[in-house]
Amino acid sequence: MSDTASASPLPKRSLIQTLEIDTRLLGMVGAFAVVCIVFNVITGGQFLTPRNIFNLTIQTVSVAIMATGMVFVIVTRHIDLSVGSILATCSAVMAVVQTRFLPDTLGLGLGNPLIPWVAILIGIAVGALIGAFHGYLVGYLGIPAFIVTLGGLLVWRNVAWYITSGQTIGPLDPTFLTFGGIGGTLGATWSWIVAALAVAATVAAQWSARRNKLAHEQPVKPAWAELAMSGVTALVIFGFVAILNAYDVPSRVLERAFQARGETMPEGYTAAYGLPISVLLLIAIAVVMTIIATRTRLGRYIFATGGNPDAAELSGINTRLLTVKIFMIMGILCALSAVVASARLSFHSNDIGTLDELRVIAAAVIGGTALSGGLGTIHGAILGALIMQSLQSGMAMVGVDAPFQNIVVGVVLVLAVLVDILYRKRTGEL
């Protein structure tokens, strides 16, 4: 039980080590930056405009929300092929509830302020139930997740069809539509306030973690490194909001808004879109999922089970119930994605979420989630979703043929995993 290797004096630490930056994360951010810059050059500066960045973020939200849940599923060595179909079923249920069931059957009347919230709650309940049912089949009955969710892919897609009799359902409730992206933004002032609160919260969390470490006499990084990290965080958050705030609402849209209120628009009036509510929802989900993954027993057990299911079981962890919980979380996230996706379209259509399962899995995998289990991060999956979406919309802007776009995305997926494997071999993680 000797360990002579680490008994030698500490080697000189590089800047990245001192700052304790995750090099894989750095690599992904780098890849994302390269994609953005290349498209920006090809499109002659069209890609990195506030407008396109705004669109990119709202296009990413739906897949990114589900990708955070897919991380837990894949970390525990399962897979979920049914997320696109669960999304469709939840969307169908919420559409029917808000346009027919609540206003007509229950007699609340259209436009009742309760309608969107009750519809969302029912949608979440449906997602949670479907997910828990899948988890029960996998965890307690021992059917492989691949089979259960392959079945689910077919079942829920067509349950959605029956709920709506194959019809497109809309228009949806106006409040509900604010979750769609462009239809619901905070505006410049509130966006700045949210940004300031976010910076305050992250910096506070950073320093409280440092205090906790010091209280237990653990090594911490130097104060300047901590300050630098706080500075970078603040810069990223404020920078992102500044870009979104730079995207002004077109004057015709503003004019119509003033007309609707029976006013005339003052000369030279402008307003920015600011932070979309859907993006705010994604950030909130990302924070909650990251806390679950890194700071709670549930997350610890998810990763332990992924690393060694037998060890987890022998440690007294109820791995069957854990499987139910994981698929239930996935189902809830599908429902939240359904809110965003249908609100973005402003109606429910039959093909909503089609092929999303593949985008979601690809996002998680590009984001560094290992299919062999035990490894993966929430922020990685979101970044993976963002990289895929930038590739796709970038190619669309450049005018690449649709079939070729899919070829590129497919190649990138395989390459990303290869790079990840090579990286892990080098760092000895594999």
């Binding site: 039980m1 000797s2 360990d3 002579t4 680490s6 008994a7 906790n212 470490k213 209280a215 237990h216 006499e217 653990q218 806390i291 890194t294 700071r295 709670t296 027993r297 610890r300 990763f303 332990a304 089970t305 992924g306 690393g307 060694n308 037998d310 060890a311 987890a312 079981e313 022998l314 440690s315 007294g316 962890i317 035990g374 490894l375 000895g428 993680e429």
Partner: protein, 248 residues
Amino acid sequence: MTPLVEMKDISIAFGGVQAVDHVSIDLHAGEVVGLLGHNGAGKSTLIKCLSGAYKADSGEIRINGKPVTIASPRDAREQNIETIYQTLALADNLDAPANLFLGREIVTGTGMLNDAKMEAETRKIMARLNPNFRKLKAPVKALSGGQRQSVAIARAVYFNAKILIMDEPTAALGVHETQMVCDLIMELKAQGLGIFLISHDTRQMMSLCDRVSVMKNGQLVATVRVEDVTEDDILGMIIMGKKPAVAA
């Protein structure tokens, strides 16, 4: 004196195979009892009934004279029974503190994991068990066999085990590391723990154990005090199932 552990008339079958066939063994505080036998003799299966990994078909387990039901690893832990498995049962992707506290994490007032505290506690216990252990932040798959073993042992020691089950604790270790584990077994015994030890190394068992129980084909051949028998007697029991004259 009441034995710390009594396993009485334990039987367990898998399909048609009688893996353990009416076996009774016991263990006193401050005693090391060895379980010997060929692969498939049933010693691991028997001991897993005590650690909660399997449930016996019939028979009785008593702890300090009181009958108990052990249906899961959690039940075993509640009886202060800790097990160090042959496979070590570590989650390779997690670090040493996470493994040490797996299933029994220290949480803060708000129910969040207190990683800093768990790391500090791990550092303390490691200072006692393996002073060279420093890689507290690395996933345990990056550790050597001996270091991994000390994580597994620390897990048992930290939670004040009264009954310790060690299944082939030195199988994967080098000479120096094996000696450290042997020293530790003697130290824990001196502290009053009862230890069940499973091993194939007859000579090591002769030096570490007070008594050995030999199994063959799921049945108990005999339990003997090591000072009453020679190594050849024990080999005879293992290979031929031959009961030596001294066996009661």
